[in-house]
């Protein structure tokens, strides 16, 4: 009898599933990661309100987004659209999961004005599979109040490493639990965002030859490592940075007890909105002797292959890149992705956004189908190396080991 009940239960469940999936066909589905929760729902609502095409948005926890999308795609239940961390574009494009958007992209009159960093990672073997959705660029933040207290000019941010160290030293000298500098020391992704620009701005690089060769073992890398090691050794960096896997990437600066921190533009809106008492300035991440660089981050828009959704995708993208869409994104925390309307879109916003918008223009993003393995993965060579060299003893050994490990992954992917 109980068996019968189970069978009946299973049958009803089956029936409900079938009916819900039939219902789901009417709307296009889209996923975006939880870190874009501030602007994606509002953007989709605005789109739905003014268009016949309707999109239903799902928010997925950021850390699990990629594995979820990949599993769903393998099982044939992927959403129609995804707002995907731009670094994953090549991996998904290579696997054949994404619709070729080259024609859609080229048909846009302002194609040349879309974020280069985004289009760069969205391009795989000459075809475009991913288009800019939302953007973030790494910048350097300093705490004006602490600068003032430490006798520094609160209106002038540092322009090279020596100035950063000098400022961190003075702020640190304020004592108590105030520290000069903060970075998330156990986070591959965060340090790609904030540490790589130090190397770029000094003339070095991480990946060369179209992403086929790793160049960790470079003089610029050692310089940057020594710069950070110095900050750590002198006690300018809080103890908690050693194990911050990105959870508190921004939290440190928000406590109003950190002098300087390289971080993303997302922090600007967040500070203004949620931590109004923190007075801060925004500048470019400098190189050893000046210069500037930035990591172009954020999300790309991708379309799951084989569903004939390109027209709807175009309709949606045209809305995103319109002044209305760009302004809405900028207001809620993403940088504009189309640079010819960027100035207009951020016009009414905090002045500090201008710096971030400029940073995105020079933003770079390493592109590789195995980006996750070499950079983001919590068990990958990049994260392991940085944690070892910042806080360990054998810098040379760690770099050599990571260089070999990274190159091995790149070779294997070929």
């Amino acid at each position: 009898m109980k068996l019968l009940k189970i069978v009946a239960l299973a049958a009803t469940a089956l029936a409900t599933t079938l009916s819900t999936s039939a219902f789901a066909q009417e709307k296009l589905t889209m996923w975006s990661r939880s870190s874009s929760e501030a602007f994606m729902p509002a953007l989709i609502d605005a789109f739905n309100a003014s268009h016949k095409t309707q999109i239903e948005l799902q928010i997925v926890p950021s850390a699990e987004m990629v594995q979820k999308y990949a599993t769903a795609a393998a099982g044939g239940s992927a959403p129609d659209f995804v707002s995907l961390d731009l670094v994953y574009g090549p991996a998904f494009a290579k696997s054949g999961a994404l619709e070729d958007l080259t024609d859609v992209a080229k048909s846009l009159p302002y194609f040349e004005h879309l974020s280069k960093a985004h289009i760069g990672t969205g391009t795989f073997e000459g075809r475009i599979y991913a288009m800019p959705m939302s953007a973030d660029a790494s910048v350097l933040l300093w705490n004006k109040k602490l600068f003032k207290q430490a006798g520094l000019d609160p209106e002038k941010g540092p322009t090279n490493w020596a100035e950063i160290e000098a400022a961190a030293s003075k702020v640190n000298a304020l004592g108590g639990d105030i520290r000069g500098f903060y970075f998330a020391g156990a986070c591959g992704g965060c340090n790609a965002f904030t540490f790589m620009p130090l190397i770029w701005a000094s003339g070095g690089d991480i990946l060369v030859d179209g992403g086929k060769r790793a160049t960790l073992d470079s003089p610029q890398m050692y310089d940057a490592i020594n710069f950070y090691r110095d900050l750590v050794a002198k006690g300018y960096v809080p103890e908690s940075a050693k194990t911050d896997s990105g959870k508190n990437f921004f939290g440190g600066f928000a406590t109003d007890k950190i002098g300087l921190s390289p971080i993303g533009a997302f922090a600007i809106g967040n500070l203004v909105k949620n931590y109004p008492t923190v007075e801060f300035g925004v500048t470019f991440i400098p190189g050893k002797d000046g210069g500037k660089a930035s990591f172009g981050g954020g999300d790309n828009f991708v379309v799951t292959a084989g569903r004939d959704n390109a027209p709807a995708a175009k309709e949606f993208l045209e809305f995103v890149y319109s002044l209305e869409g760009q302004t809405l994104l900028a207001k809620l925390g993403s940088l504009p992705t189309r640079d010819d309307v960027a100035a207009e879109a951020v016009k009414s916003l905090d002045q500090r956004y201008q710096v971030a918008t400029e940073a995105l223009k020079i933003g770079r993003t390493p592109s590789s189908p195995v980006y996750n393995d070499i950079i983001n993965s919590s068990t990958g060579p990049w994260k392991q190396m940085l944690n070892e060299v910042f806080f360990g003893d054998d810098v040379k050994g760690s770099v050599t080991k990571a260089q070999a490990a990274m190159q091995a992954i790149l070779d294997e992917a070929d």
Partner: protein, 308 residues
Amino acid sequence: MINSQKIHDGAPIRRKSVRNRRKQFAGLLFIAPALILVATFFVIPLGMAFWMSLHNWPLLGRPRFIGIDNYVRLTQDAQFWSSMRFTVYYTVVVTIAIFAVAFPLALFADKAHRFTKFYRTAFFLPVVVGFGSASLLWAWLLDVDSGLFSPAAEYLGLMAKRINLLADFDTTFWSIIIMVVWKTAGFNMIILLTGLQGISTEVQEAARIDGASSWQRFRRITLPLMRRTIALALILSVSGSMLAFDQFYIIADGGPQNRTVTAVYWIFSQSFGSFRLGYGAALSMVLLVILVFISVVQLRLLRTPEGM
């Protein structure tokens, strides 16, 4: 009943075999739902996993048959073997630690005192909290800024400044051992208590009258008589620890410097981080074989004359 049948029945043997067959059929029917579930959601997926292990199987894109290449490759995978070594090390340490705590607790809870039941409940409560929640709770307790241990040590003057317990391998490792002991000692206590209560008091009493010290009684009577219970607790603890994942993933993120990445963590990371499903499946197969081997050895070593 059978006797009476024999007397009244003309052909008892045939009748009996029909009955037997019907009874056999009924028995199979009773276990059928369980078998269907295990077949659908365990045996078939396991077979698929084995099949996948023979392929270069990306999560997306087309799988390619590569024979035993994955298995060849994993012999050179330094991280896998260091994870394996770490997992075994962890299993040995945590199992000893659990027994070192659970045994005294069981002896303690075996006594009949007024508040014994309360104590027993208190020791058992962490068991019912999920591993995920417990890990989150301890991740917070271990946090250097907002947690309990490090600030408390500083507050009490035990340390000059706050130390990040998760930045060093040893402190991370022992913190997690303590957390796991806290979480699982109660469960093992109950199992051991069962064994203790199965020993008749007369035997203990007789030994006492013969002048055996309490240590001697424990060594010579309690331990041997509890062999089966200990075996059960041991096997559960060892196979659970060999599959450890949540606590290392949530509390330590495999850190510092990938030194607390367990075997399952590495499999998870290969399968769902790097999307090498075929390779992850091959790693799983190897882990499975190792686990089966360990379990068989344990059963052999702890086998009582009557068998398990």
